[in-house]
């Protein structure tokens, strides 16, 4: 953390709920999402497999091609013949996959042909005219079946459906279980779900004949990496691909996996010599993913009588569907967060990434942490009851204490800051913990089943991208960093270009607040690019919007570049005013002498010297006022299985939830929802509140409503928002949100992860509350989602949700 006096000249905007005026275009309907770009595009769409697993036979495109208005058709095998396969990141078994199906299809909805037509409607007609021969193969859908001897293989060359199988042990795990007074264990099953951004995937690709190069507009979340992936797949140098990310209607990780579709768009745009647009439909989005993997997690806690957890064992089997690029990533993130907020000395994680004939998976909000914290916090609740302790007390006894910070977990994660006990105490007071507990019995006698649940969750940020090294060779990417260009223009206003993108988090406003306070101007004098453009933006392979990294490396790059501009402004002003730089100060868009405020020169006049009257610049000072800076988080360790940090900042939150379960209908109603959240210093509390609440609602969707359901034949049954239910405004509680501020010592502003937390902590809090409410019936919650149907069945028959 830098001294604030080194960063800020004023403190007028940092930490305040500054209005998102930069986003006024959104309330006026003037956003510029990919489908809004006014270009003379033709439309593309995909013929998708109706089979979950089949040999791909003849693809007859003649009828489609004969339809007036159809411009081109390319089949999966034709695309595969001219592209390189998709690269794997975490898996260790060989598995070859292309951006479209070739040889066989592996999931319902896999693209087998791409069609281009003059308009959306002709396109739909043409898609129906492509005839494909399939020879159905035996299907493998669920985890239990995929692991069986002789199971149908999704990738024959792997020789198994388990593409990653590793066990990582840290600390004396055998000793921990030997010394335990009590071992608590459970098998949990968590379903497939997704945060489903409201804007589906969208791509425009334009091939330029003269230079044989491409321009792509896509709502991609990690353009720094996608550019590499797309160029590799197309077999072109990166300088033949210009990549632009305009406004994006939400991401949540789901837009990290659209790049394979860019590859086929580029190919057809080359073929038809026109800009080609692909707008994914909601059905396609839900059908083909991307999803979170469903998983079966066995967790075991070794405890002493006093509630102290000595060790923890996990066996994680994860259904990664059929996308080699991301398979295994969730396993590794779960492992990295295995101890949650607790000081546990020994851990063992056996992890398996398993492929099936389900849709591809990708990093959805929280990536693995929602499941890790769900299972850990469920068992902490159970362990407390078995030991006769209060669920709050067992947590207090195991928390990493604030005075232990920085605390290194057994696998090498460094918790740099946090005050977990304070968050819990605050939440207990806010939720009225004792009062609710005291009322439960009387309410039950009246037939009202109320339960209270707690969940303490870690909310890490800024991934050290080499983490998948823990399963395979030297990673292509390591650490995390971002680039920024900051310039002062002719008018003395400031423009910022970031390498990363935004998915709705108000980055432009946050950046303008920080830059304004660094230069003593108002935020409306700071503009930031609303689109990433690889031709102009200072990007790195890490550049993108993921892993809660904006507040850390993005802001770090902006601050370092702004400092460079400020230093240069001061140097020019010192020369102009004849006052030493150390005696100058910034005030209201000007530089003045600290001793004589009448001696002043405006930013605009300084810019005139820098850009126009360059002969009047001090000796050795280059013309111009544009500076670039790249900023990396310094605490990233080199990849090493024994000692490695997967994330570099650690926010946390405490969720305390009171629910009422209607035992006649199985419906769950919220009576109170308290969130105590610690993301260190906040740049803009209005934005932070929205992130904390919004992410919690993602979790509520996962706990109560959302599930991608497949039948035993591998057909997905949930392909619209009628079947795949999202949380609506009705039925949600009014969240009571408060904050604890433990500044992060390793980010420049003391800020840390914000944006995923609620999606992580809410699952266990609600499940714990439901199990508490149903305690009189002896019902245990071991799976999600907790639907009314499952609640009723558990109360009446099975005793298990």
């Amino acid at each position: 953390m830098l001294n604030f006096d080194e960063i800020f000249v004023t403190r007028n905007y940092f930490g305040k709920p500054v209005r998102r005026n930069a986003d006024t275009r959104f309330v006026k309907g003037e956003g510029s999402y990919v489908d809004d770009l006014k270009m003379d595009c033709v439309y593309s769409g995909f013929v998708r497999s109706p089979h979950p697993h089949a040999r791909l036979g003849k693809i007859d495109t003649s009828k489609a091609e004969a339809l007036p208005g159809v411009l081109a058709v390319m089949t999966g095998p034709e695309v595969a013949a001219v592209t390189q396969p998709v690269g794997a990141r975490a898996i260790t078994r060989p598995a070859r996959q292309h951006v479209m199906a070739t040889g066989k299809v592996r999931y319902v909805g896999e693209p087998v042909a791409i069609v281009v037509a003059e308009d959306r409607y002709t396109l739909e007609d043409a898609l129906d005219l492509v005839e494909v021969d399939y020879e159905p193969l035996p299907v493998v859908v669920e985890l239990d079946d995929a692991m069986k001897e002789g199971a149908p293989l999704v990738f024959e060359e792997a020789g198994t459906n388990i593409l990653l199988h590793d066990t990582l042990t840290h600390g004396d795990i055998e000793g921990a279980f030997r010394q335990a007074d009590l071992v608590v264990k459970e098998q949990f099953r968590v379903q497939r779900y997704s945060s489903t951004p409201l804007e589906n995937w969208a791509i425009i690709a334009k091939h330029d004949k003269g230079t044989d190069s491409y321009v792509v507009w896509a709502n991609d979340q990690q353009p720094g990496r996608s550019i590499v992936n797309i160029s590799n797949a197309l077999g072109i140098p990166v300088n033949k691909l210009r990549f632009i990310v305009p406004d994006s209607g939400g991401g949540f990780g789901i837009k990290l996996a659209l790049w394979p579709y860019v590859v086929s768009q580029c190919l057809v745009s080359r073929k038809v010599d026109k800009p080609v647009k692909w707008i994914q439909t909601r059905r396609e989005h839900l059908l083909t993913g991307t999803h979170t993997p469903d998983c079966i997690v066995d967790l075991e806690l070794a405890l002493k009588k006093d509630g102290k957890v000595l060790g923890l064992r996990m066996k994680d089997r994860q259904n990664d569907g059929s996308f080699v690029h991301t398979a295994g990533i969730y396993n590794l993130i779960k492992f990295a967060n295995i101890v949650g907020c607790y000081d546990i000395k020994a851990t063992q994680a056996e992890m398996m990434s398993i492929v099936t004939n389900k849709a591809p998976t990708v990093q959805n909000r929280g990536v693995g942490k929602p499941v890790m914290i769900f299972t850990l916090e469920r068992l902490m609740h159970r362990a407390a009851l078995q030991l006769g302790l209060d669920p709050a007390e067992i947590r207090l006894r195991n928390f990493v204490q604030p005075e232990q910070m920085p605390h290194t977990t057994p696998s090498g994660e460094i918790y740099e800051s946090g005050n977990y006990p304070e968050c819990l105490r605050k939440a207990l007071a806010q939720v009225g913990y004792k009062e609710v507990k005291g009322q439960q019995e009387a309410l039950r006698k009246q037939g009202t089943y109320v339960g209270i649940g707690l969940s303490a969750s870690i909310e890490p940020g800024t991934s050290n991208l080499g983490y998948y090294y823990t399963s395979r060779g030297t990673p292509e990417y390591m650490g995390n960093a971002e680039g920024a260009i900051v310039s002062m223009d002719y008018d003395g206003n400031v423009n910022v270009l970031l390498g990363s993108v935004e998915e709705g988090q108000g980055h432009q406003t946050a950046v303008s607040q920080v830059v304004a306070d660094m230069l003593a101007i108002t935020p409306d004098r700071v503009t930031m690019n609303s689109q990433m453009d690889s031709l102009m933006s200072p990007f790195l392979g890490h550049s993108g919007c993921y892993a809660n990294r904006f507040n850390d490396v993005d802001m770090g790059a902006v601050i370092m570049a702004t400092k460079k501009v400020r230093d240069k402004v001061l140097k020019i002003a010192a020369h102009k005013l004849g006052v030493p730089a150390g005696e100058l100060r910034l005030r209201d868009g000007a530089v003045c002498s600290a001793k004589d405020e009448g001696k002043s020169v405006s930013f605009k006049d300084i810019a005139t010297l820098a850009y126009k009257q360059i002969l009047l610049l001090p000796e050795g000072v280059e013309p111009g006022l544009k500076e670039v800076a790249y900023y990396k988080n310094e605490i990233a360790k080199l990849p090493n299985k024994e000692n490695f940090n997967v994330q570099m900042t650690h926010g946390n939150s405490l969720h305390a939830v009171v629910v009422e379960v209607d035992v006649e209908t199985g419906m769950i109603r919220f009576r109170k929802y308290v969130i105590v959240h610690d993301c260190g210093r906040q740049i803009n509390p209005g934005i932070v509140d929205g992130m904390a609440i919004g992410s919690t609602v993602h979790g509520i969707g996962a706990v109560l409503l959302e599930e991608f359901i497949y039948d035993e034949n591998g057909q997905i049954l949930t392909t619209s928002f009628v079947d795949y239910m999202k949380p609506l405004a009705v039925g949600l509680p009014r969240f009571e949100l408060s904050h604890v501020e433990s500044p992060c010592p390793t980010s420049l502003l003391g800020t840390k992860a914000v944006g995923e937390g609620g999606a992580i902590g809410s699952l266990a809090a609600i499940a714990n509350a439901v199990e508490d409410a149903l305690a009189p019936f002896g019902v245990k919650v071991t799976s999600l989602p907790i639907t009314p149907e499952k609640v009723l069945r558990a109360i009446r028959e099975t005793k298990v949700i």
Binding site: F26, Y121, D689, T696
Partner: protein, 158 residues
């Protein structure tokens, strides 16, 4: 092909359209009014909400030919100069993140306030039940609509 004549945001339009053309595609592709968004195709998400003869409708659930002769208001036509109080309120209360649901939310919020100038929180939540927001968890949107009720009340009493 059918000829349709309609008024959008006070401007007259006349076009030849296929009978199957969805109204939302007419608005976006023909009229070039891209503030009306498509989020789901099934009428669930409300990103395509517009006013048709003064009432909110989901333009992905209507054909363009059904709007023949109608007067439409889209998000672009809400404020002639500057921002409508509901738009101001969404900015004041952080009632948006990615902005994709925002046009539909603003219009559904306005539709409520036109019939119920002082809605309760529950009434606001019910009024936007046909609009899905994936980002905010709705709370700041609910607060924005409540705040808009206040702003509109002030401007009426002026």
């Amino acid at each position: 092909m059918h000829t349709i004549r309609l008024k959008i945001n006070g401007k007259d339009y006349e076009d030849e359209v296929e009978p199957r053309l969805l109204l939302v595609h007419y608005l976006r592709d023909k009229a070039q009014l891209t503030g009306t968004h498509v989020g789901c195709d099934t009428g669930n998400c409300g990103a395509c909400t517009i006013f048709l003869n003064g009432k909110p409708v989901k333009s992905c659930n209507m054909l363009a030919v059904q709007a023949n002769g109608a007067e439409l208001t889209t998000i672009e036509g809400l404020a002639q100069n500057g921002l409508h109080p509901v738009q101001e309120a969404f900015l004041d209360k952080f009632g948006l993140q990615c902005g994709y649901c925002t046009p539909g939310m603003v219009l559904s919020g306005l539709a409520l306030l036109q019939s119920n100038p002082k809605p309760s929180e529950e009434e606001i939540r019910e009024a936007i039940e046909g609009n899905i927001c994936m980002c905010t968890g709705y709370q700041q949107i609910v607060d924005a609509i409540a705040h808009a009720a206040g702003l509109m009340g002030q401007s009426r009493s002026k």
